[in-house]
Amino acid sequence: MHSLQQLSDRQNRRRFLKHNAMGLGATALGSLLSQQQATAAEPGLHFAAKAKRVIFMFMAGAPSQIDLFDPKPELDDMFEQPLPSSVSNGQRVTAMTKGKAQLIAPSMFKFAQKGQNGVYMSELLPHLSDVVDDICFIRSMNTDAINHDPGKTLFCTGTEIPGSASMGAWLSYGLGRINENLPDFVVLNSAFWTGGTGNVQALYSRLWGSGYLPSKHQGVAFQPAGDPVLFLSNPNGVNRDSRRTMLDLVGKLNAEHHEQVGDPEIQTTIAQQEMAFRMQASVPELTDLDGEPQHILEMYGPEVQKSGSFARNCLLARRMVERDVRFVQLFHRGWDHHVGLPGKIKGQAYDVDQAAAALLKDLKQRDLLKDTLVVFGGEFGRTTFCQGKLSHTNYGRDHHPRCFTAWMAGGGVKGGISYGQTDEFSYNVVENPVHVRDFNATILHQLGIDHNKLTFPYLGLDQKLTGVKEAHVVHDILS
């Protein structure tokens, strides 16, 4: 049997080789050569886009939804009571709270109704409360990962395993750039945060990496000190004139060489060197805040004066989308409040509340909010039960993937609503669950992209941002 199979395989193989050795030029080789191009040509706008640009404020470490966005006043009466096992239902927890009692820790923060629709807002977020009519809160977010690294990697790249392309890289790949002088995907990491130093989670360049996509699509991380873009400034002793002289010389020699060898890639090199030269002017102009009037700076709050602050990065993000940078991603760390949450979350709220609200207002007054999608969220939520010491005014919360809150504003999303519901404990989603891949599919949708069609072949799969499982655009929140 085996030898028969081998014999037949051998014959087939000959046939395969024979076929390959003759006129396949027109068909198979043609497709072989053009496969890459064909796939690259396919992405693009699949339908009309509501948003042209995105600002994604990623809250690394996972903010507590119960204290910020998902009020559960009923829990006040259940202080220190064990979470019913019917609610937790044997769900896995982290190594930190495994086997420990799950005692309910009600939020110590007050919520009140704000805006035209009376959306409940935490007292921690007074400024965002002012702009609540522009915001759509999704309280039914959920994810697969229970730890930070896989959680962030899943949210930012679509899978928990490192190696995939990030959202901004996908947009760069699919939509291309709309600005000729700036990168199309910029990352702004906060250099510091107020909610204590012990609650910080690591970041990884993979979160804005290109994975299997060509690396030209990777995010450009702006630096809070030194050159905002790595290697932007001329070395000491080289000024704009000597740089121009050098580029003219190099450009002419490159052009001559192109005539000799014929490779069009040389022309790309020339073009990129010129783009680099333009960036040497456009990036400093972008990061120079001298022209910002006082009332704008004040709107973003006092921290805007410090390079590397979240507030500064919000203002920079506005300046970037004004100049049509496609995707700006802010990473703000310090949200991992396992213990001592109330004190620390106040610090974090101080960092983000005023600045994020200012960004929305600022975009709106420039008429940019209508086609700029602003997104805010972390990798998962936090437990309703306490980790560590529990009192009415001091408690901690562990990681919780089953529910959390994220929000969107502008870019064709309804404002002044909250979508989805959790149970009375903010433990399980009971209405309109939105998985992170649904969330990401929705972002792509607003940019005119069908998440199922923006693909890249790698490792045998048509890779996509939303991964192999089905994802659904959350149409209910779209205006």
Binding site: R13, R15, K18, H19, L33, D149, N189, Y204, S205, M246
Partner: protein, 820 residues
Amino acid sequence: MNCFLKSLSVRFTLLVITACSGQLAADDVSFNRDIRPLLSDRCFSCHGFDEEHREADLRLDRREGAEDWLAPGEPDDSEILRRIISDDDDEVMPPPHAHKPRFTDAQIELIRTWIKQGAPYETHWSFVPPESELPAKMKIITDDGNIPRLTEIDSFILDRLNQEGQSISNMADKRTLFRRLSFDLTGLPPNADQLKRFLQDDSEIAYEKAVDRLLESERYGEHMARYWLDLVRFSDTNGLHHDHYRDMTPYRDWVIDSFNKNRPYNEFVIDQVAGDLVPNPTTDQLIASGFNRLHLIIDVGTALPEESLNRNVIDRTTAVGTAFMGLTVQCATCHDHKYDPITQRDFYQLYAFFNNFDGQPETGRRGTLDFKRGLQQPYINLPSDEQKTQLAALELAIAAAQKLTRATTNEIKVAQRSSIDSAKITRLENRLKVETKKQKSLQQKRDQLMLKIPGALVMKEREKIRPAHLLVRGQYDQPGEVVERNTPSFLPPMKDTELTRNRLDLAKWLVSEENPLTARVTVNRFWQQFFGTGIVRTSEDFGAQGEVPSHPELLDYLAVQLTQSNWDVKKLVKQIVMSATYRQSSAASPESYANDPKNRLLSRGARFRLDAEVIRDQILAVTGLLNDDLFGKSVKPPQPDGLWKLVAMPYSYPRIFEADTGTKIYRRSLYTFWKRGLPPPQLTIFDAPTREACVARRERTNTPLQALLLMNEQQYFQASMHFAQTLLQRKHASDSQRLQHAYEAVTTQLPSQSAQKRLLQGLQQFKTLYADDEKLTAQMLTHSLSPDQLPTDQAGKVQLSAWTMLIHSLLNLDTTRAHE
């Protein structure tokens, strides 16, 4: 060379004539080449191998199961074709909800022809053992003794080109060829002596002698190792959570040494997969087994150990799939593979070889000596002879000190019991204090020494085998049935063993004669190094979703050659670079580049941008800065401030980047410290992967950030000035002479008249510019690496500034960063 070209053109005529005979009917369709890729892409995810997700009980990956839908010979009676061409959204395949593109008319024609031919199925091409067959025409050619320089490789390439009415290009000129060869064999440009030697040798075998010399260079092993380190995701940190330090550098040294010593590739594989299981393993074999420890690993504290264990084993198994088998086995973690015949059971049977690791699934706590050394059990210490002596002496001294403190402690006890002489007790206690201090100081010295002694993480089996389960939906906490260790059922089986099969059996199976994948995957990756693209473009995936080979017969021929040569890698490399195909000129018409942008037919030499490491190493080499020390711990050349801090946690180790000093910072780039969370930007900006996953090929991009890097990176700019200073030490040379020397050093070429003129004009412009700006000139001079030798007069300063800009310009030329 002329003689060779002439004979080549004669040969072309011959080939063209012979190629005209034996054409097959144009409508002949191959399942493997034409049909499987289509069915795989559009149909297999619902009608393929994965039983659980199979729709309508129809599978199209094999004939059995497709009969009701296929009428061999009768396309119009075949339901498959009817559904493919249907206009009805409820019927058409692939259905709209699958989000797959519709079949094109040309593809439909292929399927129609295939059915007309009887719809023959074939085993996937890469699962059938390779056979070595030269093209028929070549058999005639090799009988003809007049043309010694066309090799077997060329016969395959020419055979294919001739069918397109094309041929290969003229040979590259000697300088271009030698530059290409040096890059390809050593990762470095030729130095002046090597170049001179080659140019002066007019003999027929000058090129071959140059090949042999370069293959003997230690730089060869370093260069070959660099590709391997991408493939196995080698790095200096753990890659998860805190992303702490780990030391795997002895493994890197072993890889370099293996290539330099030309270790047979089969042994190279066996030692990595199972060096620890070889009877009486050598130190080298244990180090090699560290291949199994290169995966990402989380530090203890937050994740669940059971989950971490599972994740590590999947990572380990995936690496074997990518690196050796060229298969995406990990796709079968949660369900049967959708496109290849890898069942979920197959995956966990393979997984079972790797889950019996005798060590913790998460790294240890901070503060221990192991932690500081970047080590985690099991590991072996690798002290030098000197360190061994030092260590032995310290151990002796510590033992003696311990003996003293014990004795004194006893004396105190005795004294306390028997005497009330408090003065004596005090005296003794004081003595103990001194002795204890001395003992502690010795122990600290030993710890300090241990920190310097390299250790190597190794693989080790538990005695009692940990059972492996099929994990339902890939979930670590949902074990299904127990599975036995075994290889995928669709590949030739392993030899029977008396004892339980172990990794060593698996390793031997990987490089056994029957294995159809390993040799093919291997030669393809080596080929890719020299031509920029593999014969199979998707060098990480030889399954149904991978691309079919551009030259399947050549791939098979090389694979068979490799195994028959006892897996002799240098021989294979030499065979490739000796071919006329390799030696062609890459200069071609715009039409040639437009018609075959990726050069898949190889009608011209390979022109592509050099890899990040080669670009950096070249700058250091041509400017005279390169430190060519071999082996050792990773080094940290300067990078912009603050990059690590911006992503690190407060206890990440290391948290803040501190650049090395001295000549270490000029070592070759493969020794650069690799933090997975934020790898060196000088390398990632030029497409180096993050080393978080196994990567078999890099993308090549061309971006403004790359232009900025080459324009403004501090070390690169300092290198320009360093070279300029050296150049200006030739007091009596004219600017023209200096220019020619510099141009040749950087590009291996002599400048054309026009280039020479432009460059001298440029030099003059720079001189004027700096003469007019004293302040700018003063700033420029701060880049000097030998400030004590700077000119003191203004004219000298201007001269140096202008020459620095000129060298800097040369380093920024496209040709400088190109393999051409």
